[in-house]
Amino acid sequence: MSSSPRAAQPERAGRGTLRWREARTGLALISPTVVLVLVLVVLPILWTVLLAFQDLRLIRLRSAGLFGDLTVENFADVFGSPGFWQALVTTLVYAGCGTAASVGLGLVAALALRRPFRGRTFVRASLLLPYVAPVVAATFVWGVMLNPQFGIVNEVGTGVLGWDEPIPFLTERPTALATVIVFEMWRSFPFAFLFLTARLQAAPASLEEAARVDGATPTQVFRHITLPQLMPTIAVLALLRFIWTFNNFDDIYLLTGGGAGTEVISVRVFDYLVSRGDIGAASAQALVLSVVLLVLVTVYYRFAAKDEVA
């Protein structure tokens, strides 16, 4: 198309040329994937837009037509309900704190494991476990660990640390939100750790050595030499993590079910869809989420597409 190099122009003309056969093979090989993505990702997203402007209930779904009467009522309802704005604030707090915590801990981990020691390979692999472990198992164990009756955390807290009474970590404001943020940190810091470790390995040692020879202390070397080199990676990581945490459903749904002040928008979308069967309102809220996401992805492109981290 127009993006192809000008030099290729003369070859374009004839059918049956090598160039034409190549294009045909390319299209044939890529088309199954494109069709699948169009049918299962792109079309559904477009359909969400349509659904958001319809008054559609799950129980009436089978009789309803594809294109019902269009209305903006869903948006009026969504924006008019205080629960939505509360959920939006919760989502922002959750995503912001979760991102900062996981990238921060990932940085600390990458720095601590930077120099080789006996067993580093094993420790490194172990640190990645929370990230690869199934989310359902992880949330279940955390739930039991934090259980006020027989969970180990409260057992140690009351028995050893001298807490007056067990803390209901997942069922009370504002502890529940703090707990899901700590869980997010536990689960996602390996991602930042992995990227930052790779970036640290690529950083030339000569710069830091030179600074050290010039008398810079370790913290000064970190502050003025290492950190500036990591900054682009940290920025991309923060953005990526923010996008994913902002839309995260599994963790909060499984830990608290959205109770005790932890209702984020994605859990609200699910709730409207499945529990209330209000497809229109669920779509409208998903759409709001998409718009925020679109802005973030645009920022990501402008900012980091060249880094090819993703």
């Binding site: 989310v135 140690v156 779509s283 993703a310």
Partner: protein, 316 residues
Amino acid sequence: MTRMVTAPAETPAAAADTRPSRAPTGRGWSRTTVETRVLGVLRWVVIVGLALFTLFPFYYMVLLSLRDLSSLLQDPGRLWPALSELTADTYRDVLAPTASGGQGFLRFMLNSGLVALGTVAVTLVFAVLGSYAIARLRFPGRRRVSVLFLAVYLFPSILLAVPLFVFFTRLGLRGALAPLVLVYVSQTIAVAIYTLRNYFQTVPASIEEAAAVDGATRLTVMRRITLPLAMPAILSNALFVFMIAWNEFLFALLFLVEVRPRWTVSLGLSQLAGSIEIPTTVLMAGSVILTLPIVVLFFATERLLTGGLTAGAEKG
């Protein structure tokens, strides 16, 4: 930078330093020593702390799965099981079919395995063909396709939940495993294509051209030359696609929740977790069963995977 510039100004104050060879850096030397010592200790504190923080939940999982419920309630703070209370009954309970009083996790494992392997197979076929095309062949719209796939990769599954749920409900396909496989493929294909494309680009085209000159067709070239060379990348792709599909929760919940015989392990554990009748220790055995295949796979192939993982990140 400003702090670095001011550093030399401090050196006269340290002129009393007795070590002549260190004189230019003066007081900075002692600060360096202090910082190095402190950081040296802190480093080990951080390493040990992090290892405990990440590994303890997994240890606790295994520990509770081996303990008896009544002894757990009596002594919840115990961090290593007494030999007398060790039991494997929890595993028997959780694996046995519901007909004989168990929780039917064996059935769930079968479902999870089918879905995950199906996803791996379909994703790989699509991804190998697609990524080869993007890496090697010039065709109209090639760049746009790459952008589309990157967008899909960044697109979170919760936003697809509404339309897909409505769509599959309408078609009456909820409760079947095959549509779920297709949804998983659509979620993993973008990452798979992206990493495989990067790999294909590192394989020199001249090898393929040489074969083509010798009269091999493009398919023969792919099968005999490109695929064997790309095997490591294909394998690591297979592994992380398997992990994503085995771990997935949201779509399994949306599509399968009403049909218990079709539950995956993730879905089964999440659905039974709220139940009061099933002992926590039995469910803990269930979560070991859910986690173990992933951990084993991960440690067996860690080196192969870490490269792929950074690209094959989870979907939020």
